[in-house]
Amino acid sequence: MPEQTIKSRPVYSPLQLDPGGRRHLLVADGEGVAERGLAPGTAAADFDERWTIVSHSRAIPSPDEGVSEHGFRSLPHLLAALRRRLGDERMGFRLYAVGAEPFLWTINALAGELGLGGAEIHLCAVGPQARRVFCNHCRTITEGVTTNVVTCAGCNASLFVRDHFSKRLNAFAGVQVDAESPGEIPDIEELYA
């Protein structure tokens, strides 16, 4: 079995307000999620604004100035608003994201595209551990993988799910599990529930 101590595996710590920043926006991928990613002594209300995906068709962010709590009906809904917001933001801003790992890196990619550097965005993974797996052979991404070995949704290869994480692809690397010894497939285990 390949070695599973890999530096590219992101390490997350609970969030607290970055004292260097002047404006702080916290985004979360579900109701009640944000609180689970905060360090002791830090409250959601410490952040100037909280944006949450509430998965409800009536969710509309308030147009009023001074409202600090906004709900969004879906991830694309939140991303569209965040893209607009970051385009208008100035230096001194800090972005925080709490949620499942694929959500965090989707937010991170958008933030990077709009100029935020690594010191201006803070991420904390909570919730489902299911992995997006990138097939190193056919480049298909298989979503929601919870096992150590998975069949690639693109080329049907049996992929070993490595701990090697690509921030750019927002996915874990998957490699042909029996490449060295054809036919030798390890027991399938549920590891990332």
Partner: protein, 315 residues
């Protein structure tokens, strides 16, 4: 680091920009092409001064792909150790000097969405190459240059080829609101500063107070090398080298025949890193962390000096 032989360069032209500023064109002594440079790069010239030889670094202000000649702009300073005075008083067209190949410790940031440049006086020099490059890329750039009244036309003329939009020359910085400038910059802005230490410190401190992360703040200084004389004791070979008030520790070591590897000679690159065995260094570099400086085990002899009368190095 790939090392290269020093270049033999010939002075092709000299232009007096102001009573204390000279622009010098440096061509290859064999009339061939010079190595290409990059924005923010400098060359180190070996110059004769009153107190021996000096290696002075000057930013290249000509276009990076102009391989026929490097242009540098040199300020004659009152406390010159001899290098800049030599350029202003003795250097003639046709003279041949030794120079390093271009080296850059002050790169443009590829991910920046906007570049804010702040220059003070002759600190304009590396920023001129930035403006040239950024204009060529049609990048978002804003340049604020501070100058004494008498030199405003000089700097305006240097910036003229790059168009007026976003480029400003200000008479002194007392009346200028740095906070207002840095408060309204869009996400993804990087700040580059070159000038007197007080200007760079003020700009950095203002930016940090407004929430700019340190990764977006860039500065370059060519720190003065002079100070109280002291003695370097050589821990391995047992000798002693006196460092005079007008020379750097690095120059004193070189003149004593100890070839300490160096690149920027301005405390920016870390190439001349040397282990301290005894004595307390007076750190003036931008490489060592505060913790490393406090520990006092390492020193950059190109700019740093000694707080104790004697410094023992692992040489």
């Amino acid at each position: 680091m790939i090392r290269s032989e020093p270049l033999a360069i010939r002075v092709g032209a000299i232009e007096s920009l102001s009573p204390t500023l000279r622009r010098v064109w440096l061509e290859s002594a064999d009339s061939g092409l010079l190595p290409a440079s990059q924005p923010g790069a400098h060359i180190s010239l070996t110059l004769r001064g009153e107190h021996g030889r000096h290696h002075n670094s000057y930013s290249i202000v000509s276009a990076c792909d102009d391989r026929a000649a490097y242009q540098v702009i040199v300020r004659r300073t009152a406390q010159s150790r001899g290098g800049s005075r030599f350029i202003h008083e003795a250097l003639k067209v046709g003279d041949v000097l030794q120079a390093s190949t271009p080296n850059s410790q002050f790169p443009l940031q590829p991910r920046a969405r906007k570049h804010v440049l702040i220059g003070g006086g002759v600190g304009i020099t590396p920023l001129l190459s930035f403006v040239r490059e950024l204009r060529g890329r049609d990048a978002h750039v804003e340049f604020h240059q501070f100058a004494q009244d008498a030199e405003i036309p000089v700097f305006e003329r240097l910036l003229e080829p790059f168009g007026g939009h976003g480029l400003h020359v200000h008479p002194g910085r007392e009346a200028f609101d740095l906070g207002a400038l840095l408060d309204v910059q869009p996400l993804g802005t990087h700040l580059y500063c070159c000038g007197p230490p007080t200007l760079m410190e003020t700009a950095q401190a203002t930016a940090v107070a407004l929430g700019w992360p340190s990764t977006t703040l860039h500065s370059e200084s060519f720190a003065p090398a002079g100070g109280e004389p002291f003695v370097v004791r050589l821990g391995r070979s047992g000798g002693e080298v006196a460092v005079g008030e007008h020379e750097s520790m690095l120059e004193a070591l070189e003149n004593a025949g100890l070839p300490v590897a160096s690149l920027c000679r301005g405390g920016a690159c870390g190439e001349c890193l040397t282990v301290v065995l005894d004595g307390i260094p007076d750190h003036r570099d931008h490489v060592l962390s505060d913790a490393e400086k406090a520990e006092g085990r390492l020193v950059m002899p190109c700019v740093s000096r000694a707080k104790t009368p004697c410094l023992t190095l692992d040489l």
